[in-house]
């Protein structure tokens, strides 16, 4: 813009823009930027919750301990399994529900309303509700499965190391599929109708229409939705914490980090774990943006 005459109007607008942004930027810097910086900083120290202002630098020690802790790797594994499986199922199911909602059939309104309910329920409440349903002694799940003769004796769903993670995934699928379905539905509703009419007139098989026309067209929106859900899943905390506490069989990276930070008061070590989690999220984003060519519309 240099060299051109600046009208006072444009200048005034730009100045106002920065002025308007300032409060938000200050707040974000205060609640996000600075704390993040402190977390990374703490990760190179031996700070504890009690001695947040008296600590010593320990270099990479925290990280070296971390990579040698099998529980940490278990948490990484749990998080990845949880993310891949739950997001995968949610995408498939969400796509199915979105297609049903998009087809103009009776019962659509009811279905949409019903599907919104899990989304509206707080995660903690969902976890408790399912925790109760999966209760080993009095849970309705055991009662139904035994009634149907599918299992012979009650299972300890949330305590059994082999079953706990699947249970957590099942609850997440229940809770998050609606979000997926709604986002996909929005994408579906933006597709031109005459496209489908043309395909129907040409007698193209519906499955082929879906694979050849629908899927490529909603792909960008689908990818963004998947990315959002993935980032959300990678930082999961509430579900595991409420359903299974700090149990190792389901512990996510967030649960691990918080356990050290708060329960064990080892801020330095916990911060190192939290920092690694940020790196994993950043890597996932970069991967999605480059490999999946996800285009997040950040201002035209």
């Amino acid at each position: 813009m240099s060299g051109l005459p600046h009208s006072s109007l444009e200048r005034q607008r730009r100045r106002a823009a920065w002025l308007f942004l300032l409060p938000m930027l200050v707040v974000l810097a205060g609640v996000a930027g600075w704390p993040l910086f402190r977390t990374v900083f703490f990760s190179f120290t031996d700070a504890t919750l009690a001695t947040l202002d008296g600590f010593q630098g320990v270099g990479l020690d925290n990280y070296l301990w971390l990579v040698r802790d099998p529980v940490w790797w278990r948490a990484v594994w749990n998080t990845l399994v949880f993310t891949v499986v739950s997001v995968g199922i949610e995408t498939a199911l969400g796509l199915g529900i979105a297609l049903i909602l998009n087809a103009h059939l009776p019962g659509r309104g009811l279905l949409r309303a019903a599907v919104l309910i899990p989304w509206a329920i707080p995660t903690v409440v969902s976890a408790q509700m399912w925790g109760w349903m999966f209760h080993d002694l009095y849970g309705v799940v055991n009662a139904i499965l035994m009634g149907l003769g599918l299992i012979a004796e009650p299972r300890a769903w949330t305590a059994d190391p082999d079953l706990a993670l699947p249970v957590v995934i099942a609850v997440d699928v229940w809770k998050s599929t609606p979000f997926m379905a709604l986002l996909i539905l929005a994408a579906l509703q933006m597709l031109p109708r005459d496209l489908y009419e043309a395909a129907r007139v040409d007698g193209v098989h519906p499955v082929k229409v879906f694979v050849r026309i629908t899927l490529p067209l909603i792909r960008p929106a689908l990818m963004v939705a998947v990315l959002f859900r993935t980032l959300d899943a990678l930082r999961v905390f509430d579900l595991m914490y409420v359903l299974t506490g700090n149990s190792r069989s389901t512990m996510s990276m967030s649960v691990y980090a918080r356990q050290y930070l708060i329960d064990f008061q080892d801020v330095g070590y916990g911060s190192a774990a939290a920092t690694l989690l940020v790196l994993v999220l950043a890597a996932a984003t970069v991967l999605a943006v480059t490999l999946g060519r996800v285009r997040v519309d950040a201002g035209r």
Binding site: A32, I100, P122, M129, W132, L182, A274
Partner: protein, 273 residues
């Protein structure tokens, strides 16, 4: 054709049951008092509101609800106030660095919360907000603010350019344009965005768990997660379910009432094909 319709109806029915059953079961459980809790029956033989009475008498649940309401309302009001101005700047003024700023805002909303936990803990303690609602308002801003900025920016961008230009010709500066021309037009957008931010704040768990200590200072999700009964080994499931129902019914009501708005708010915030 008929068979296909029936199969289809069954699928839809299955999804509806799957979506609704857990909550319905929570309602049923919440009506079971005493030992009825430990029998699996579709409807309690003697429905009782004892659990509902207990959460307000034996537990400080009324106080918890109040805490949640105050924290969520304050953070939503604060976020909307900050976001409307920021959204005008991001949505309607061209300046260098705008794309980067939007990206940063989106990035912050994707932050894992544990990543700021130690830094925030330090800040909260330094400000003397530990175990107070202020700590929650402060920490919730980290997700409500980026979200409201992002959604309002997309709404702001859709407002007609000529309206703003007419106001400029009328002598309105940027602040007057935002407050007296755009803001009155953004009622629905503000309602949808505010509602979604409110729900997010209302549901938040990690910060509330970490920054509060006493039963009285807890928010609803923490109270529900940590609710304990007479003995440590015996969780008061009836009360937990009653509390769950109490906080969820208004949410479900709101969500069903504002269905369309919410869907458009969500998609404006998340997906732009």
């Amino acid at each position: 054709m008929g068979l296909r319709r029936i199969a289809f109806a069954l699928v839809v029915l299955g999804i509806v049951v799957w979506a609704v059953f857990p909550f319905a079961w929570a309602i049923v459980t919440s009506l079971k008092a005493g030992s009825a809790l430990f029998t699996v029956e579709a409807w309690p033989s003697q429905p009782s509101l004892a659990n509902y009475a207990a959460i307000f008498k034996e537990q400080p649940f009324g106080r918890n609800i109040l805490n949640s309401l105050m924290a969520a309302s304050a953070v939503v009001a604060l976020s909307l106030g900050l976001a409307v101005l920021a959204a005008y700047a991001l949505g309607r003024v061209r300046f260098r660095g705008r794309g980067l700023l939007l990206f940063v805002v989106l990035g912050v909303s994707m932050f894992p919360q544990v990543a700021v936990l130690s830094g925030l803990f330090e800040l909260v303690r330094w400000l003397g907000l530990y175990n107070r609602i202020g700590s929650l308002v402060l920490s919730y801003l980290i997700f409500t603010l980026p979200f409201t900025v992002w959604v309002l920016t997309t709404f702001m961008r859709e407002l007609p350019k000529e309206l703003e230009e007419a106001a400029m010709v009328d002598g309105a500066g940027p602040f007057v344009i935002v407050t007296r021309v755009f803001l009155p037009l953004m009622g629905p957008a503000l309602a949808a965005t505010g509602l979604l931010a409110f729900i997010a704040a209302w549901n938040e768990f990690l910060f509330a768990l970490t920054f509060t200590l006493t039963d009285d200072a807890r928010t609803v999700p923490v109270a529900i997660a940590l609710m304990s009964g007479a003995s440590q080994y015996e969780l008061p499931w009836g009360q937990i379910m009653a509390a769950s129902v109490v906080v969820t019914v208004p949410l479900i009501g709101l969500v069903l009432l504002f269905q369309r708005r919410i869907v458009s708010g969500l998609t404006a915030g998340a997906v732009k094909g």
